[in-house]
């Protein structure tokens, strides 16, 4: 079943059917209806490969999530929410979503080669600007349209991205703890090659330095995983007493919670704890976790819309979107807003 078949049944030409399918003007309304009826009846949809071949458009976007540092999905609930947003955004505009979860360089090369160069995808969402594994000159020079969901470490002037104000968010967390009277505040960072992690540390450090309370001994490097949160907390406890900790992700806060429990420190009485993300688990933990809520799913959704606007020429050049975050105060810092 192809255009020609429909045309024959409708007593018109291939071209006319094509015009109807693509909703172009200059088709007699009677003819249009007749063709549409047959298209409907036959359940006809144009062959995407043929269309792709001539238009050089695939109606497909890619989402790339590198898996170098951590096993993406075991580590955190962050990526699933993001994927949901991307999928919604793409579906809304009738694009399909191609998923790439790569680890090896070989995977990456295949991805570049087979998929990007040949326009199997019209554009790409990169879900972790961590390192230059994906976001590098080689990619950018292909002219590929790319949107990242973090502030890129490099090429920030050439790349479009959607992110949150991590610096301000971290400041909010610290100021909340300061307002509670906490003075020895620790921080478990995310993976430090990640821009989000860097910005959260910068915000943390800045806010404490402003009041002369920054102590580098109370900062431990994590990598966003629960496990690393546990280890980071242990490390901080070894270095000196703390009365509060800001973890750069909820997953790490859960790990920290475990470590504090094992050290027989009460949360929030002895140590107040703030996370980041507001994952579903955060409000279910014991104690329920104070955290910075960031609109993860919306980030994916808006990044996708931005990407499609760039693809379709509705927007130009690098665009940056900064979304707001929100401090959600729960039991782990001593207040229960419910």
């Amino acid at each position: 079943m192809n255009l020609e078949d429909i045309a024959r049944r409708a007593g018109v030409s291939r071209s006319t059917v094509s015009r109807v399918i693509n909703n172009e003007p200059y088709v007699n309304s009677k003819t249009r209806e007749r063709v549409l009826a047959i298209v409907e009846a036959e359940g006809f949809t144009p062959n995407p490969a043929a269309r792709m071949l001539v238009t050089q458009r695939a109606q497909v976007i890619g989402v790339a999530i590198p898996r170098t540092l951590t096993s993406v999905f075991e580590a955190t609930d962050y990526f699933p929410a993001l994927l949901q947003g991307v999928s919604d955004g793409a579906q809304e505009r009738d694009y399909a979503t191609l998923l790439w979860l790569g680890h090896s360089d070989q995977d990456r090369d295949r991805f570049y080669g087979r998929i990007l160069r040949n326009r199997l995808m019209d554009g790409l969402i990169i879900a972790s600007a961590t390192s230059d594994l994906l976001l590098n000159p080689r990619l950018l020079n292909t002219g590929a349209i790319v949107v990242t969901v973090e502030r890129p470490l490099a090429y920030a002037d050439r790349v479009s991205y959607v992110t949150v104000d991590n610096i301000k968010a971290a400041e909010d967390a610290v100021n909340h703890l300061l307002n509670l009277g906490r003075r020895r505040i620790g921080h478990i960072t995310g993976a430090m090659d990640n821009p989000d992690a860097q910005d959260r540390l910068a915000g943390f450090q800045g806010a404490l330095q402003q009041v002369g309370l920054f102590n580098p001994d109370l900062v431990a490097e994590g990598m966003f995983t629960t496990q690393s949160g546990y280890l980071g907390m242990m490390q901080i406890l070894k270095r000196g007493p703390v009365d509060a900790v800001f973890a750069a992700s909820d997953s790490m806060a859960f790990g920290a919670l475990q470590a504090l429990r094992e050290a027989h420190l009460r949360v929030p009485q002895d140590v107040a704890l703030v996370g980041f993300d507001d994952l579903p688990h955060a409000s279910e933990a014991t104690p329920r976790l104070t955290t910075i809520r960031q609109p993860i799913q919306q980030k994916g959704y808006l990044a996708t819309r931005l990407l499609l606007d760039l693809i379709e020429g509705k927007l130009e050049g690098p665009q940056q979107i900064i979304l707001p975050t929100q401090l959600v105060i729960r039991e782990s810092t001593g207040f229960d807003v419910l």
Copy 2:
């Protein structure tokens, strides 16, 4: 840059380049090397749309995850692990993975029409055989190649699938609890239109009936989410005392844990608790959760390999793969194997 360009540079014909690219025999080894060198140098990869158009093959598989009952990714860590397996399996055989996370019927129709009929995908993994939203005669009659990762509710004789022996797994859980001396054992089911949930209930019921201890009052219907686990546990507690509970997923076990805590019941002293899945969180909870480990990622991986074998004609007709599960005993049933 296309076949013809490469051919010109190599002083051969389009056909010969095509043969080299596709690794076909009957090409002089000298010629092959020369062509290969130029392909390499130019970074040439054949246009997938053109190839797709003539071969009717896309080198793309789809993963469909319906989102009717629950918001897939917020509810459970199950799907991410599955996706990882699927992605690995596809990548290994040089296939791309198209992701479909649909909610509405309209989404579904678009999916059927645009994507399936026109072979934008060569085959499909259905990640929740729940209801007939996706797996229905309309789909099967298109001749689409489908593999599900649950035992299908209907058409089980026509569909290939990869699953675990949920009945036996549930029996294992119950027998473990019985061996610990527990006698009043409750169950929080998964979403009851899901075959996994049905089989787990069947196994639970069967094992208890065998020893004359089955009590329907102690069964509450959940839907795999943490929230529903919490509510299910509340409901069971209202109906009568229990000394053990088997939850059909870890997520629900976490919810149940919360409810038990609020009821001032100790786990495992007052109530022993068994989950299902062995998610990463299970071993991090307090107390660490006894659970049935099922190889989720491997399920996705094997389903994908099976799908590709079916697509490529290496295997025939409906194939079923049943993977083993494993009872992992931890603190929540009173033993700590570590």
